[in-house]
């Protein structure tokens, strides 16, 4: 019987840091895409509430807690990230697809996290515009990404094959920001 060893997308690559900014790999137990059946958004919302006490997030928002978050990722599409979801209960109103291996999840934290993001992502990520619970499907260094605000910085999801390039770009930006002195 073969015994294959699992590797996370950024095993051996993260964590890295530059100055105060730290980039770590988050390895959620599960990532599941959730797509409501036609006209079943409300039913999905209720099932989600019942099973996990999470509301269905609006466009550009995420809901839930660090243990299990529901992230809006597109038209009729969400990602449940964290603990394994109650698949059976949710499947009555939505299509679930396992994406646990498809995405690399990173957390960029520290005082200069916003400065780092400003070098890679064109969105307005100021704290007042992109608050806790806000999320965006956007680009990060020309890579399609899901960027969410977390309490100490940003959570960045990119598709697994892009993970190394994303880290290379993040590392460059982190080093650049760390090397620049305080403005006068």
């Amino acid at each position: 019987m073969v015994d294959l060893i699992a590797k996370t997308p950024l095993a051996g690559i993260l964590p890295i840091n530059a100055g105060e900014t730290v980039l770590t790999e988050a390895s959620p137990a599960s990532i599941t895409s959730v797509m409501p059946h036609q006209g079943r958004e409300k039913a999905l919302g209720e099932a989600l509430k019942k099973a996990h006490d999470i509301g269905l997030p609006a466009v550009g928002r995420s809901s839930g807690t660090a243990a299990l978050r529901m992230i809006w990722t597109g038209r009729g599409q969400y990602m449940l990230v964290g603990n394994k979801p109650a698949a059976r209960a949710l499947a009555r109103s939505s299509t679930l697809t396992d994406q646990s291996d498809g995405w690399a999840v990173m957390q960029l934290t520290g005082d200069n996290a916003a400065q780092v993001m400003a070098r890679l992502c064109p969105l307005d990520l100021r704290a007042a515009s992109f608050k806790n619970g806000h999320t965006a499907r956007t680009e990060l260094a020309h890579i399609m990404a899901v960027v969410s605000r977390i309490p100490k910085g940003f959570e960045i999801m990119v598709m697994r094959s892009f993970a190394q390039t994303a880290v290379t770009s993040l590392q460059q930006a982190m080093d650049s920001v760390a090397a620049q002195w305080t403005r006068t």
Binding site: M1, V2, D3, L4, I5, A6, K7, T8, P9, A18, S33, M35, P36, H37, Q38, R75, G76, Q77, S94, T95, T97, D98, Q99, S100, D101, G102, W103, A118, R119, C121, P122, L123, D124, L125, R126, A128, S129, A141, H142, I143, M159, R160, S161, F162, Q164, T165, A166, T168, S169, Q172, A173, D175, S176, A178, A179, Q180, R183, T184
Partner: protein, 979 residues
């Protein structure tokens, strides 16, 4: 030394050595290269563009046309750096440009003597014939003689950054107007970015002696900046030039991050190119003093009057010992007053106005003009024409003031034209020139300090109101409110010698007159004919003077004559900054396959497939040519078993009540009839009936399919499916999402593939459980995997998919097991040979102009249902003998070579376009057959199997006689597949 013993905004405790043209000098922290050179009595700093005239420093800002230097050492040199904006730092190595052998003696100064030949339009008229001489003789010579800085030719190793910033209000310029605007808006709660190109915020306040609220202007500025720096909603961006205004409140800005730093850490960029998105903008960019054109007005020592004040007041550097001033307005007298206060000898103030109201403790010549100057490498003497005749005055510095031009440039970037204001004899921005932008202070023609402060407050309050914010209380600081008093005076008539307008491109008043004479009278024509304003300074000090002369000549007013168009960037931006992170690997993101590490360990030679990197072949010891590796890998698959990472193929999970119906509509063939656990090859057409993509789809459940796409078209197919589901058939209950990255997938192909799998899997793989074109779940130890019995090689083959986290481990396990059978990995080249031998197509064939019938799949467009592209595919001309059809080719003559892209002609026909019979799309050497084979499109090809056809490659000059054959060269019955 011309450094004043006290004063200036310098840190005299920090003495900084730097070099210019090999000589080492000392300056202070706070000096620019220009101020430090002046303080060291260096006045000759450059040679001019065309005539190699000795030139000095004209201005104290980014508008400088003359004092361009190159910075750096070795092959890492930045050319055309303005000495007036470059701060000095320890070890700064600057050199003058465009001189040979040295700045003091420039051999090409002979051009100056030949100046009658080099006037505007000279090249156009002179170097026309003979035609061949232009490129080979004239142009190289002219290019060597003319020019500014030179590039080393080596790649720029400096690091540049690009970044984005967002704010409620962008304030451009930090003079009195900008500071008050930023302060007022910030107090009102707006998120403010204050950007200024200078290293020290404060604008003209740092250069003038008039005070604010009883303090020196620069003290008030520093205090205000300190207040702003402490506000959390304010971001100060010094050394940041806003270079362009674009749509939607977006501005380009260039930040000089480490041009001025001796020991910049390696990761710090030289420059950062910002894109600032602002809800509102206040332009407070100030004004630029303009010169007056008079004969020989380009000698070192002749500078702008405001620049003289900057050098004296801000940098404590005295540009001359015997200063004269030439002005047409009251502002010029400020320079006299400042210098007189410092005890500098004033040789005279020459005022063009007959009725000069201002006076001081210095001689004033009213109604006078400077008509000539002397001193080759530095001003020595001027000749002044007064009512009583010519008079020579000894002077080593002539400060010139022709009035001020508001910096309207940014307001014109969206095609607005500035408006002439007679009272100040200058252009000001049109109202609403840029949506969301207000203009304040000198940039709007409000030249007094009081007016600027007030305009800054007013603009900020208007912005607050416009954005629905509460207004704030402000007290306006007290400052001078001198009215503008100017009598327009553009150029001195008569006199000998040339009067220079554009110092950087060596354009004189005579050139403008010549342009007029030759009927280039529109300012845009005049600009191009004379090249005025086309140098790196974009004519900041010369445009208005030139168009005033053109107005004179044509008898029109200045507003009627108009300005040329100001376009971004406001000041030069290095290509390196615009292209930051775009070089080398930064050009596009890289996608890595699950077996990437193993492939590289195995000396796999990687090739790009879209953004993916896949191994082309695996080079074994002793193999010196890719064909050896490729042939071995092909033979290996045919004889034993080969492994290939096929993760890059698009995988789309399709689910929902109407999933089967959805697939029936997007695929040309039927999928609703596919049994669970079975796989079918599918063809997808575009709406126009051409083939879009092909692949397989597996049915995992009643309402669950996994579709595969080609690597290249994965994105296109996903977009297409989204369009179909959202726009064409929103009534279908179907959900789909990419799972390309979720699964690591490997092809296992060859006669030993089942044996390999049997050993790997927990359950034996039988022909009954997994017949050809079937699929199902299997277990690998603790892992649930998917197995598909499909083949792209013609061999008995499978594809196994595991969750991607196990991809690396499985790739290694498969290597060991394949090698135990004498097999191993194969790359893209072998994959291509295998599919060509079997007659399968790729996007080399289905290239976008190919129908299903063209590739022999016409019957795959089901007539039992409708599907995307079906109706279009049935139009006349979409199938039939008139079209080029897919066939195989094999060489039958002495020449065996087949080449991709080569065209086909009937034997005996001339190889010209009108006789074209088709072309080759793919070719390879077939180890199985022992000769090259190809796939080609040939007119009515299927009916011509067995005929001879001639391949002609016009580019590579190869001709090969071929026989048209079936594209399937191997196992046409498919016995191997089903074995």
């Amino acid at each position: 030394m011309s450094r004043l013993p006290t004063g200036g905004l310098l840190d005299r405790s920090q003495q900084i050595p730097f070099s210019f043209d090999g000589e080492t000098y000392l300056g202070f922290k706070g000096d620019t290269l220009a101020s430090a050179l002046l303080a060291n009595d260096v006045r000759l700093v450059a040679r001019s563009f065309k005539y190699h005239r000795p030139r000095g420093i004209l201005t104290a800002g980014s508008e400088e046309p003359n004092a361009l230097t190159q910075i750096g050492t070795g092959d890492q040199i930045t050319p055309n750096v303005r000495a007036t904006t470059q701060e000095i730092f320890r070890g700064l190595c600057a050199k003058s440009q465009n001189r040979f052998p040295s700045l003091g003696f420039d051999a090409l100064a002979v051009n100056d003597l030949l100046s009658p030949f080099f006037s505007a339009g000279f090249y156009y008229k002179t170097f026309m014939w003979p035609k061949a001489f232009w490129e080979k003789l004239y142009e190289p010579i002219i290019r060597r003689a003319a020019g500014l800085g030179a590039l080393s030719g080596a790649p720029d190793l400096a690091h540049y950054d690009k970044a984005f910033a967002h704010c409620d209000l962008l304030v451009i310029g930090s003079g009195p107007a900008g500071l008050m605007a930023a302060l007022t808006a910030a107090k009102g709660g707006l998120d403010v970015i204050l950007a200024d190109e200078d290293s020290r915020l404060g604008g003209r306040l740092n250069s003038e002696t008039s005070g604010i609220d009883g303090k020196a202007g620069h003290v008030w500025a520093a205090e205000t900046v300190a207040v702003l720096a402490d506000m959390p909603n304010v971001r100060l961006m010094s050394r940041t030039t806003v270079t362009g205004a674009y749509d939607g409140g977006t501005y380009g800005a260039l930040e000089r991050v480490s041009h001025h730093v001796a020991d910049a850490r390696a990761a710090a960029p030289l420059e950062t190119f910002w894109r600032i998105v602002a809800k509102r903008t206040i332009l407070a960019g100030g004004a630029i003093e303009r010169p007056i054109a008079f004969p020989n007005n380009d000698r070192p020592g002749i500078m702008m009057a405001s620049a003289v004040r900057t050098y004296v007041n801000r940098f404590a550097a005295l540009p001359g010992q015997d200063v004269s001033i030439f002005t047409n307005n009251d502002d010029g007298h400020r320079t006299a007053a400042d210098l007189a206060a410092l005890g500098v000898r004033i040789a005279g103030v020459i005022d063009t106005r007959a009725d000069v109201a201002v006076s001081g403790d210095y001689p004033v010549l009213s109604g006078a003009e400077v008509v000539d100057t002397a001193g080759r490498k530095g001003l020595r003497e001027i000749t002044v024409r007064t009512a009583s005749g010519l008079r020579k005055i000894k002077t080593d510095c002539l400060a010139v003031s022709g009035g001020w031009n508001p910096s309207v440039h940014l307001t014109c970037h969206l095609n607005s034209r500035p408006v002439w204001r007679e009272d100040i004899a200058a252009f000001v921005p049109a109202e609403n020139a840029i949506p969301g932008m207000l203009v304040a202070g000198a940039a709007n023609g409000d030249f007094s300090t009081h007016a600027a402060l007030k305009a800054g407050v007013d603009a900020a309050k208007a912005t607050l109101k416009d954005m629905g914010r509460k207004t704030v209380r402000t007290t306006l600081p007290k400052a001078e409110d001198t009215p503008v008093s100017i009598t327009p005076f553009w150029h001195v008539d008569g006199g000998k010698g040339r009067a220079w307008l554009d110092m950087q491109n060596d354009v004189t008043t005579k050139d403008v007159k010549l342009a007029h004479q030759e009927n280039f009278r529109s300012v845009e024509h005049m600009k191009r004919y004379t090249t005025l304003g086309m140098a790196t300074d974009q004519g900041k000090t010369s445009n208005i003077g030139a168009l005033a002369i053109m107005a004179d000549l044509t008898g029109r007013s200045i507003p009627e004559t108009g300005t040329t168009t100001f376009r971004p960037p406001y000041s030069p931006v290095a290509m390196g900054a615009l292209g930051a992170h775009g070089a080398d690997k930064g050009f596009a993101p890289e996608r890595f396959i699950p077996s990437d590490l193993l492939a590289r360990e195995m000396d796999g030679v990687m090739v790009e497939a879209g953004l993916w990197y896949r191994p082309s072949w695996f080079q074994k010891p002793g193999e010196t040519h890719w064909r050896q590796s490729c042939d071995r890998e092909v033979q290996m698959v045919r004889d034993t078993v080969g492994i290939c990472d096929v993760t890059t193929l698009g995988k789309i999970d399709v689910q929902g009540k109407d999933a089967a119906e959805f697939l029936d509509r997007v695929y040309s063939n039927m999928f609703s009839t596919l049994k669970i656990g079975r796989v079918r090859y599918g063809l997808m057409l575009r709406e126009d009936g051409m083939v879009m993509d092909d692949g397989t789809a597996a049915r995992l459940g009643e309402r669950h399919f996994v579709m595969t796409t080609t690597t290249a078209a994965a994105g296109q197919v996903m977009t297409h499916l989204d369009f179909c589901a959202q726009v064409l058939w929103p009534e279908l209950d179907v959900q789909f999402i990419s799972v390309t990255e979720q699964w690591a997938q490997f092809a296992i192909a060859g006669p030993k593939s089942r044996e390999l799998l049997d050993a790997l899997c927990d359950e034996p793989i039988t022909n009954e459980a997994f017949p050809y074109m079937s699929c199902g779940d299997i277990t690998l130890g603790k892992i649930k995997a998917r197995l598909f019995r499909i083949s792209f090689s013609g061999e008995h083959a499978y594809e196994i998919a595991v969750p991607a986290r196990y991809g690396d481990a499985l790739s290694r396990e498969l290597k060991i097991r394949a090698e135990s059978f004498g097999g191993g990995y194969y790359g893209m080249e072998a994959l291509n040979v295998l599919r060509l031998e079997k007659g399968f197509v790729t996007h080399a064939e289905i290239h976008g102009r190919i129908t299903a019938d063209d590739i022999g799949m016409g019957r795959m467009v089901s007539d039992k249902k409708d599907s995307v592209g079906k109706v279009s595919s049935q139009r006349p001309g979409m199938s039939g003998p008139e079209r080029e059809q897919l066939v195989g080719l094999k060489p039958v003559g002495a020449v065996k070579q087949l080449l991709g892209g080569a065209h086909l002609f009937n034997p005996g026909d001339e190889a010209i376009r009108t006789n074209d019979q088709g072309y080759i799309t793919s070719h390879c050497f077939s180890p199985h057959l022992g000769h090259p084979i190809a796939q080609a499109f040939v007119k009515n090809g299927r009916a011509r199997i067995g005929e001879k056809i001639r391949m002609v490659d016009h580019l590579r000059e190869v001709e090969t006689l071929c026989e048209i054959c079936s594209p399937v060269f191997l196992d046409p019955e498919g016995e191997k597949l089903r074995g």
